[in-house]
């Protein structure tokens, strides 16, 4: 704190600086000149970096309990959500964080676009930014499957099926991504590796390229500024812009925290590949694409799925190469600004029409409501720990109770096992009965057997009419299945 403008360094700081050059690095970072001065409009980039860091931190902590396998993924996420202290909150921050990233990404891109900040030797900044957009969408796609609940499973089934529309290599790509022809435990492993190792590593690399090439070209300043040799008086990044950036980061985390606290992210019932009713709906940021794909089938699919998105993508990535003029003011660039607005409005319109289509079709609306109900019911149920594979089998335990042993004979005599599987493990035709005793008491099981619910009847479950001396052992057996 000397008055001569140079900060006096204490022993340790000098020692560290001699070895790392930290001070000059810090000064270089903080003294970045911004032509025209600090502006709120510039906060989105650092906001994204902050959100990415938040995703890494929450992701690392979630991995402390998560197991990437089709057998355990859903149980472990349910455990995080229902049992672990603060687990629902952390998972919500992480899950909503992906939406926050997409929102801030759109704001960042729109700002860059409207200000013409990609002009004047800033091609690499823009291209790296486009790659980061794709990588972030990849993170959202791969992360969505990991909880292995109904919507995760079916949305990803549809999402990966789209790949097979690509001519020649499509099917191969799909199978490579899934680790087989069908979705299964290898799919979870692959998505986990992409989500946790591969894509984040790419993001680190492209953030480095993005930031480095941005600093090399320099901040572009307002839309009226010359993008190559700025003329407006510059202000350094520190302190004003830094304070604005930090304020924005605080706003983001406060908003995320409030949403996560008051509207925690839910988890649906465990994925049931045999379900033929389930209607997957993607996260909001994929809804426009989802709706768009509905319009293309048969011979036009190639055009809609490959050619048009290819052209739009090429126009987007190649923007600084096609648009070489140094004019930055948006009102002087009607064509590019017009195209950009049309694409944005088009996406929004697709999203709205998807939502309206769903609501207008009573069958679809009812099914979507039923799915929401099922999710709510699952969320309200107590966490059920998974019986470990090395445990005594349910069969042995059942047989130690003579009543249950008799019930097992009835279970087989009535051919319950034909659909519900031996020992009630479940088959493609009917759900598992293991754990049913924890869910319902004996009276409720008896009632359901006598008069199955509408859902059960729809699934092909006949009413079971037995005398009391047979019903009791059967229920004892069902209750012993865990």
């Amino acid at each position: 704190m000397s008055a001569d403008g140079k900060e006096s360094k204490s022993g340790f700081r000098a020692w560290l600086d001699h070895r790392t050059g930290l001070d000059s690095l810090l000064r270089h970072t903080l003294d970045e000149p911004i032509p025209g001065g600090a502006k709120i409009a510039y906060v989105f980039g650092s906001g994204l970096l902050f959100l990415f860091l938040s995703q890494i931190v929450t992701g690392v902590f979630l991995a402390m309990y998560y197991v990437p396998s089709a057998d355990h993924a859903h149980t472990t996420v349910a455990y995080i959500t229902k049992e672990v202290t603060g687990g629902s909150f952390l998972r919500s921050i992480h899950a909503y964080g992906s939406s926050a990233i997409i929102i801030v990404l759109l704001l960042h891109m729109t700002q860059t676009f409207l200000y013409g900040s990609y002009k004047g030797r800033r091609e690499l900044v823009w291209v790296a930014g486009c790659v980061l957009l794709a990588l972030m969408l990849g993170m959202a796609f791969t992360g969505y499957l990991l909880p292995w609940d109904q919507k995760a499973f079916f949305a990803t089934t549809v999402g990966t099926n789209i790949l097979s529309e690509i001519p020649w290599v499509g099917n191969g790509l799909k199978e490579l991504l899934r680790g087989g022809t069908e979705m299964g435990t290898l799919t979870v492993s692959r998505f986990f590796v992409l989500h946790v190792f591969v894509i984040p590593a790419c993001i680190f690399a492209f953030v480095a390229i993005h930031v480095y090439s941005f600093r090399k070209a320099g901040a572009a300043g307002p839309a009226t500024e010359d993008p190559v040799s700025p003329k407006l008086p510059a202000e350094t990044f520190y302190p004003k812009q830094l304070v604005m950036d930090m304020g924005f980061a605080t706003l983001i985390i406060v908003l995320l925290g409030l949403v996560a606290y008051f509207w925690p992210m839910d988890l649906g019932p465990r994925a049931d590949p045999a379900d033929t009713q389930f209607m997957p709906r993607p996260e909001w940021y994929y809804v426009p694409v989802f709706q768009y794909l509905k319009y293309w089938h048969g011979s036009t699919a190639l055009l809609g799925i490959l050619v048009i998105p290819g052209i739009v993508g090429l126009l987007l990535v190649g923007l600084p190469f096609f648009d070489r003029s140094l004019e930055r003011r948006p009102w002087k660039r009607p064509i590019s600004v017009g195209l950009f607005t049309i694409v944005l409005l088009g996406l929004a319109a697709l999203g709205v029409s998807s939502y309206r289509q769903d609501m207008r079709n009573p069958g679809v609306a009812a099914q979507l409501r039923a799915q929401q109900e099922a999710t709510k019911e699952f969320m309200n149920a107590k966490f059920e720990p998974e019986l470990s594979g090395s445990s005594l089998s349910a069969q042995n335990v059942a047989l130690s109770n003579p009543e249950a042993a008799k019930g097992k004979e009835i279970f087989e005599a009535q051919s319950c096992n034909a659909c519900h599987g031996d020992n009630g493990v479940g088959t493609a035709a009917a759900p598992k009965l293991v754990g049913v005793g924890a869910k319902y008491d004996a009276a409720r099981i008896a009632a359901l057997l006598n008069t199955p619910s509408a859902k059960m009847t729809a699934g092909g479950m006949p009413p079971v009419q037995l005398k009391d001396d047979e019903m009791k052992p059967l229920i004892a057996y069902l209750q012993s299945l865990n």
Binding site: A3, D31, G86, G87, T236, V243, M246, P385, V397, S400
Partner: protein
Amino acid sequence: MPQVEPVTQKQSGDPNRRSFLAGLLAAGSATVGALLAIPLVRFTLHPVLARTTDKSWSDVGKVDEFQNLDAPVKKLVTIEQRDGWRRTMTEKPVYVSKDAQGQLIVLSAVCTHLGCSVPFVEKERRFICPCHLGNFAPDGTLLSGPPPRSMDRLETKIEDGTLKTQYQFFRQLTHTKEELA
């Protein structure tokens, strides 16, 4: 050096104000960071702090079959344990025996010395630990050898004619029975 100077002069007149602001920002970030760390710490400590202490009762067998007991009989009880998000069911050996008053008791077969499984030796009419030859009477009382205390009795109850027990683990090498989680 000459390149840095003009920049430094341009953006701030008063270095004291500048470093005060830096301190303020650092303190602010540290506070926010610490607040954000709270849920992370609680999340991490969950398995350590939230011990599941609920004990479950396991069936040993029908009371009738133990009525005319003249020597301890070995039974396997199924116990359920929570391990994070999963539960395991394992079988543990126990002995059903009678105390001096003729009441049914259930003994853990784990030796109080070093935790070997203790069998009842019919010929000698006593429990003899195969590891270090600790000897126990049929009701579990310590007779001789290195074990510090008698065999551990488990909690029992009789429900609908079935003898039930609460299987537990106890600390070895102590004179008094100390429960382990």
